[in-house]
Amino acid sequence: MLEPVKLADFFTVFFSAASVIMFGATYALLFAWSRIGNRPRLMPLAYAAYVGLFASVIVLALAANLFNNTFWSVIVLLMLAGYLLAPHAIWHLCVGTHADKHDSAPIKVFQQR
């Protein structure tokens, strides 16, 4: 059963939903950046972004009445876990796909044919 958002919570829903995605991207970017540049100082910031994401998901879930129903509660848990792990997976894919034969690659000059 669906429980629509209360009028007073509209802004909260929009704002927290946008925050979820923004914090998610910030977390993913900081995570990648910290690893690329070998800047371990940035890693706490990345996880701070995840904490922001976590809080946003909870606020969104409360405002959109997601905890009143088992299915939507599961979605919330999946979001919390999935958005935590996805940037790790994305990062590993970035490295994994670029790793192959990188240093020994012959330099070729390129121009449009």
Binding site: A18, A25, A28, A32, G82, I107, K108
Partner: protein, 483 residues
């Protein structure tokens, strides 16, 4: 090599010459989209403006149809552009391809003239066959639908036959499969039923599975080629990422169709499917942004073509914000109940279409023009670079202004009209005449003027970029040989 900076049509391959024709029409239609969008926007501010001559419905139809067609022309042109280069052989059936271009263009002109001059017909089958099908985005009358399918099949033949004769790269493979889906899905929108629920159920197949699935993958193919050309990214990496994108986009996007099936009569289980896949859909967009930044960092932003690279980066972010953030903000059914069919949707639609698609076609135009000018220099300190820089700035500033203005109007509308008023006639006009709404529409128009200025500058730049340049294109060190 002849002098740099002058048009070198003779040095281009057949597909590229054809692509330039498609690009020309695409830009003209982009202009039409902007023009009719501005007229429709003005009618929000002054309803008597062109009332009874070019009503809002006509302007709005032309606005969205011009968009669909200019993007299609841009995509088709881009594919013809890369086809011979990718496959390594001359295009198969170039004569047919050229004929189809003229048929397609002529059909578009006829459809536009009928929209403008005939506008509406009697409530009979003949009207939807000859004048206007009256279904958002695919208003084109049925004869034109059939024409579009024929044109797309001919296009598909060119692409598939050329790859089969030459070499089937991974980009080629994905492209061919995607075109099959693109053409097949369009058929879902080509039938009549009195049942509006059934009508909209299949209508979404066309709209959603084009825009949130097959178009995304098509753009992924163009992006892959663009990254190899402008930054010399290794083909193997680009193609692996193309497959990652296909898996993630189709994996989240095909069943993401569910978020359009909340309120049109379709069963309640779509709430759960739509909700789940809506939560999944941002992941590929975030992955693309992270990978774009990773790649750009890897290559230290060195490119042979700075305007194209700037638009490619704009695409990654535009797609992320337009589809990801703006989509997720109102996609859960608990809130979509109130935002469905308001300016919210318009805000999201503008940012997503511009961010994900217009940007990529523009990037490709710059890649094409570089070659057309005889592989002209397009890196840092290009002569007249202010034009492309200001164009990209004005287009984005205008778009962001429009989108934010519509967001505020939509926010007010979802409350006053939808939640409080219950979406009846009185509630609708109470929402429309609210201060926030009116001011939103005013600022939307301001954004429109800025966007228009950006478009004019873009068109001017496309016509002149590299003209006074005498340096040849920079060469980037490719990481390894192309496959």
């Amino acid at each position: 090599m002849a002098a740099i900076g002058l048009p070198k049509t003779a040095e281009m391959n057949g597909g590229q010459k054809l692509a330039m024709k498609y690009f020309t029409v695409a830009i003209a239609l982009f202009g039409a989209q902007v023009l009719f969008g501005m007229l429709a926007g003005l009618q929000y501010l002054n309803p008597d403006f062109l009332f009874g001559i070019l009503d809002f419905s006509v302007n709005r139809t032309l606005h969205v149809n011009a968009m669909v067609v200019w993007l299609l022309f841009g995509f088709i042109g881009s594919v013809y552009w890369l086809l011979e280069d990718e496959a390594g052989v001359p295009i198969v059936g170039l004569g047919l391809a050229n004929l189809i271009f003229w048929v397609f263009t002529l059909a578009v002109v006829v459809v536009v003239l009928v929209y403008l001059l005939v506008q509406v017909g009697p409530g009979e089958q003949s009207s939807i066959w000859l004048i206007n099908e009256g279904r958002e985005y695919i208003e084109a009358p049925r004869w034109a639908d059939i024409g579009i399918v024929v044109c797309v099949l001919a296009f598909f033949y060119n692409v598939a036959a050329t790859f089969m004769k030459g070499k089937f790269t991974n980009i080629g493979g994905v492209l061919v499969m995607d075109l099959v889906a693109l053409a097949g899905i369009y058929l879902a929108g080509m039938y009549y039923t009195p049942n509006i629920s059934m009508d909209q159920h299949w209508w979404w197949w066309v709209i959603h599975l084009w825009v949130e699935a097959t178009w995304e993958v098509l753009v992924g193919c163009l992006m892959a080629y663009g990254l190899i050309k402008t930054m010399g990214v290794r083909r193997k990496i680009v193609e692996t990422w193309l497959y990652i994108e296909v898996a993630l986009m189709f994996g989240s996007g095909i069943l993401g169709l569910g978020h359009h099936y909340f309120w049109i009569g379709t069963p309640e289980y779509w709430f759960t499917i739509g909700g789940f896949f809506s939560a999944l859909e941002p992941i590929p967009l975030v992955a693309m942004v992270v990978h774009a930044v990773f790649d750009a960092g890897h290559h230290k932003l060195k490119s042979t073509n700075n305007p194209a690279l700037a638009w490619i980066i704009a695409q990654a972010f535009g797609n992320f914000f337009g589809a990801g953030v703006w989509g997720f903000m109102h996609t859960l059914p608990q809130i979509n109940l109130y935002t469905h069919g308001t300016q919210w949707t318009a805000s999201h639609g503008h940012l997503a279409f511009f961010g994900a698609y217009a940007t990529m076609v523009i990037a490709f135009l710059y890649i094409a023009l570089q070659k057309w000018r005889g592989n002209v220099y397009m890196s840092g300190e290009l002569i007249g670079a202010w034009k492309w820089k200001w164009a990209i700035f004005l287009l984005h500033a205008g778009m962001i202004t429009m989108v934010m203005a519509m967001l505020i109007s939509g926010y007010e509308q979802s409350q006053i009209e939808r939640a409080i008023g219950g979406s009846d006639w009185m509630a609708y006009f109470a929402g429309q005449s609210h201060r926030w709404f009116m001011q939103g529409m005013f600022w939307r128009q301001i954004g429109g003027w800025v966007f228009t200025a950006g478009f004019v500058l873009l068109a001017w730049d496309l016509m002149t970029i590299g003209k006074r340049e005498t340096r040849p294109a920079l060469t980037v060190a490719a990481e390894t040989a192309a496959a």
